[in-house]
Amino acid sequence: MSWITKNLWLIPILPLLAAALISVCKQPRRRTAATLAIGSMVFSFLLSCCAFATTLHSEHGGFREVANFDWFSFGTTTLRLGWVLDPLTACMLVMVTFVGTLIFIYSIGYMAHDENFTRFFCFLALFAAAMLGILIANNLLLLFISWELVGLASYLLIGFWFHKPSAAAAAKKAFITTRIGDIGFFIGILWLYSSTGTLLFYDNGAGCLESSALTKLVTETTFAGMAVSTAIAILIFCGAIGKSGQVPLHVWLPDAMEGPTPVSALIHAATMVAAGVFLVARVYPLMEVTAPGLPSVSTALQVVTWIGAITAVFAALIAVAQNDIKRILAYSTVSQLGFMMMGLGMGGVAVGMFHLITHAFFKSLLFLGAGSIIHGCHEEQDIRHMGGLKKYMPLTFATYAIGMMALSGVPFFFSGFWSKDEILHSAFTWQVSKIPFYLAAFGALLTAFYMTRQICYAFFGSYRGHKHPHESPRVMTVPLVLLAIGAIVLGVFGTPAWPAFETYLSGHDAEFDVAKLLRGETLSVMLISICIVAVGIFAAWQLYGRKPVKTADQPDPLEAVNGNVYRWLANRLYIDEFYDATVIRLNAAFAYSADLLDRVLWGGAVRAASLVTLAFAHINRTIDDLFINFGFDESCHNIRRSSGFLSKLQDGQIQNYLRGIGVALATLVLFLIWGCR
């Protein structure tokens, strides 16, 4: 066992220690708190890099080392905990510590004026520690403990500005909603333990993810002929649904935007939501196992795929109709998590995890960019009150545009293109059904559409706010630049020509082969994907920016924008006005000369399509508010009401108490008579 495996526990312990130290230091010691938190993260990052380097030396079948130890014994059985170092852990460790460090640094600038600065860093460090604990765990119970700690830390962070009632409510909603998924997860853990007698993932052949346990699980069946492995896998997936905001438990994620922006970046881009995807990847052997003789795609993976596909489209539709810059990103995150789940379900660990890692970079870039915009616009979050920021915040704009293009999947230079392309490719070749492919394609189209819309709103046109916007300080922009570099460079590792990431996870050496790019299927999917992105961006541009499609992959100068559109933006082009504008413009266009007719028809078609999309979005939003939120609130309300009623029974009158006891006694005696028969 290498020294790094032995000492892997240091990685989560360092931030934990930092959190403990910060919690005892006095409120005004800002510098100490920030130094402790960032220092611990940097050390963890360096250790993670060592761990990553170790896993690169793969022999046959991939690198995996485990360190297990006895925690305690109940009678004859011993509960063992441990940690594992394999490529999956290592790449996630590097990603989380790297992105985490940048977010910590960024927070110094963003939270500079907050009076609870030290507490914020304490919570951040606690969160990071819990998240790193999830990553290294080699035991489902240890993973669950860290998982719950992540939930607790996110509760504290989302509710950080607790004086806002909405923030306090959002924190509670996030905690309770994820906890609902965790019930399923916990039952799954109990079931797994009672079936296999171990919760260790890997234990020299005796772990619950190794072949002997899996063979046992897959041959046993439970109700309706379902294999026990399938039932447990789906229960564990319930936990992932809650944490990763999949339909129908996604309701907490948009509300959670009430937290400070670095929190949104940390929780909703890089770590907490990724925890669910990571969980599925971690227990992938359990997910994919099928009994011999049955169809090759397991039921559990089909569930994962369908939930992911529905989430991807559903959330993307909603994102189109949002105006809060962070809410758009939140719904976009939900949608992208759906893509990751789809990738896991159809393409395997590498496809889903690759999108997770690239997404972590470009989405935290976008969130931090959004934070920079909000900071620069004096806490304004509504994109209708922004505009023209390109001029005031050039660096933020450049990095934000890179993030947007990566998220939209603009071809060749951006990591998002390659990771999304792999998902589309695996959907295209999936044997079970073609529908997920169409859903994924539609989701990708919408993604390009709403991101372009957002960029147009925020950065083009003229500034529509009141206070003068300013570029953010260096401490905030430097992390943006670093993340932007990551968002571009990472794509190199996942192209079909050089699938380094995939081979790294499976433990082979990657071979560089350009010819693979030109194989029929790969090429056609790539072309489809490029077309989708082009159509999405063009449609949005046609509506919000009205620029020719050829320059969509580079930033546009403000003066190049058509004067007509300029006026639109000045009039705060939001959704309701858009309808008016459509009608007015159509009338005006008919009055113009015949050579405009062509373009108006084309515009009308695009608008009709977008109207349909918007209608869908609104319907979805309504369903969301009416049924899912309502059902949740209603059941909470019912519990409150019944509890109020119950406690009214306890009215302080002894006489009633005594009567209650008399009735109870009579019931017990009846039980006795009935029980004896």
């Binding site: 305690f72 004086h163 519990i639 406690s647 306890q650 302080g652 017990l668 006795l672």
Partner: protein, 495 residues
């Protein structure tokens, strides 16, 4: 004689405090509490040197009325620790008791004696005497603030309901004695084995049922939980804490002995009853706690739900379940004492126990805020604290029995549901500490060093029991060995 040396020492200490009161100046009387706590600490230490020499097997005294085995030793130490912490809390409370603070201390010591006898009881006569010693002292402890109507009311309510439970207990004992001709646990067990038809005898079963009712009052299990919220709310805070920890644990140890030593055959047969009572107690406690605004009343309902969790271990009918009960109780001791100590300190200068007194506590005293937060998080069963691990062990014991009866899975489901809704009110308390909107009072709270020490000890214990359960779990398992069900099967007695 050797077997009750600890109890005798406690009684002598109580009398000593009463005497010492005569020679102490009025403004120094509250300091006698420190002396009592310190001397109890000495007795606790002595128990580690004296009791281990008892030998490997259990020792008996007074015609087998008293037994000293692993379980008894475990609970004696448990009660001693509880009494020390409660005495330290009482000193903080002394400014709210108009006169007779020394009597308050010595009543705590006498109640402690009753609890320690209960830990050793091996005979129904002993059960009755020990329980009544506890009850009668608590009548006074609960109504000690004679000038407060709420305290008097709490005392009276406790008096009537507890006397009622005592009447049931005595009548039950009479019926069991009449049908078996024995009052000793071991004799009754032998009689049951020798004469299996007894387990179907209606009078005998009615007697056992009434005894369970009498003990159910003490641990506040449904449907005999009904006194708990009022009494918890009205009593002086240290009395409430001792009631929540000591009196409940005394009920638990007696219930363990009666159910698993005296009448194991009946217990096997009544597993369904235990499952139902446990489930309803959990649901009732947690549901009723949600709308509460009074901290002590909230903890009263929380105590009911915890009685339900403890009953899970009974319902499991296994060694693992019994060990889990002991483990859970240990965690519960430190958690509840920490919570009540904080409440006692926070409400020192106010007449209200409303949840709003916690507003801004993290600024007034970070230590108190941290201790209360930890206690609530542990009660809510969130890892890695003691409460999580205790619940985990209890649920594990229940799940292991699932193969015999599918009702156990329902019980697990209901428990998990109860734990989830309990988050709501436990986090309500945490929210009141950190996130209250209109904080008016920022005056720092001074905490004396013994109280600080007691809080730190509680927090350390909560963490220790949650993180390093190896040793304490071994201890609980060893202590639970005293309750091993005899080999002679009991199920075939019925069919």
């Amino acid at each position: 004689m050797n077997l009750m040396i600890l109890e005798l020492a406690v009684v002598v200490l109580g009398l000593g405090i009463l005497l010492g009161d005569l020679w102490t100046a009025a403004h120094q009387k509250h300091l006698l509490g420190y002396a009592a706590a310190a001397l109890l600490g000495v007795i606790l230490l002595a128990s580690f040197f004296g009791l281990e020499q008892v030998g490997s097997g259990p020792a008996y005294a007074f015609n087998n009325m008293l037994v000293l085995d692993g379980l008894a030793v475990f609970f004696k130490r448990f009660f001693l620790i509880a009494a020390i912490l409660v005495l330290l809390m009482s000193v903080e409370f002394s400014n709210r008791i108009q006169s007779g603070i020394s009597e308050f201390y010595c009543l705590i010591l006498f109640a402690l004696t009753g609890m320690m006898f209960a830990a050793s009881a091996n005979d129904f006569i002993m059960v009755f005497v020990a329980l009544e010693l506890i009850s009668v002292t608590f009548y006074v402890l609960n109504s000690f603030q004679r000038n407060r109507l709420a305290s008097l009311e709490a005392g009276i309510k406790y008096l009537i309901l507890s006397a009622l439970s005592a009447a049931f207990l005595v009548f039950g004992i009479a019926l069991v004695f009449g049908t078996t001709t024995f009052t000793n646990f071991a004799d009754i067990q032998r009689a049951l084995v020798a004469n299996p038809a007894l387990a179907g005898n209606g009078l005998f079963l009615l007697g056992v049922l009434m005894i369970i009712v009498g003990l159910g009052f003490k641990i506040a299990a449904f449907p005999f939980q009904i006194w708990a919220p009022d009494v918890y709310q009205g009593s002086p805070t240290p009395s409430t804490a001792f009631l929540a920890v000591g009196s409940k644990a005394a009920g638990i140890v007696l219930l363990l002995r009666v159910l698993f030593v005296a009448v194991p055959a009946v217990t096997q047969h009544w597993s369904k009853l235990l499952i139902i009572i446990s489930a309803i107690t959990i649901l009732y406690g947690n549901l009723c706690a949600i709308p509460q605004r009074n901290l002590k009343r909230l903890l009263g309902y929380s105590s009911i739900s915890n009685a339900g969790y403890l009953l899970l271990g009974f319902a499991a009918l296994s060694q693992a379940g019994k060990a889990a009960i002991l483990y859970y109780l240990a965690g519960y001791l430190f958690t509840v004492v920490a919570a009540f100590t904080v409440i006692c300190l926070v409400t020192r200068d106010r007449d209200s126990d409303d949840i709003t007194v916690l507003a801004g506590l993290h600024r007034r005293s970070p230590l108190l805020a941290m201790a209360l937060t930890m206690a609530m998080v542990s009660l809510a069963g969130i890892p890695p604290l003691a409460g999580f691990f205790g619940k985990f062990l209890l649920l594990k014991a229940v799940v292991e029995q699932g193969a015999t009866n599918s009702a156990y899975y329902w019980l697990v489901g209901i428990t998990v549901f109860g734990v989830v809704i309990s988050l709501y009110y436990y986090f309500g308390v945490i929210r009141a500490i950190y996130w209250s909107k209109d904080v008016t009072d920022f005056s720092p709270i001074t905490v004396s060093w013994p109280a600080k020490l007691s809080l730190v000890v509680c927090m350390a214990a909560i963490l220790y029991l949650g993180l390093l359960p190896g040793k304490p779990l071994k201890l609980s398992e060893d202590s639970a060995l005293a309750l091993t069900t005899p080999v002679s099967g009991s199920k075939q007695l019925f069919h």
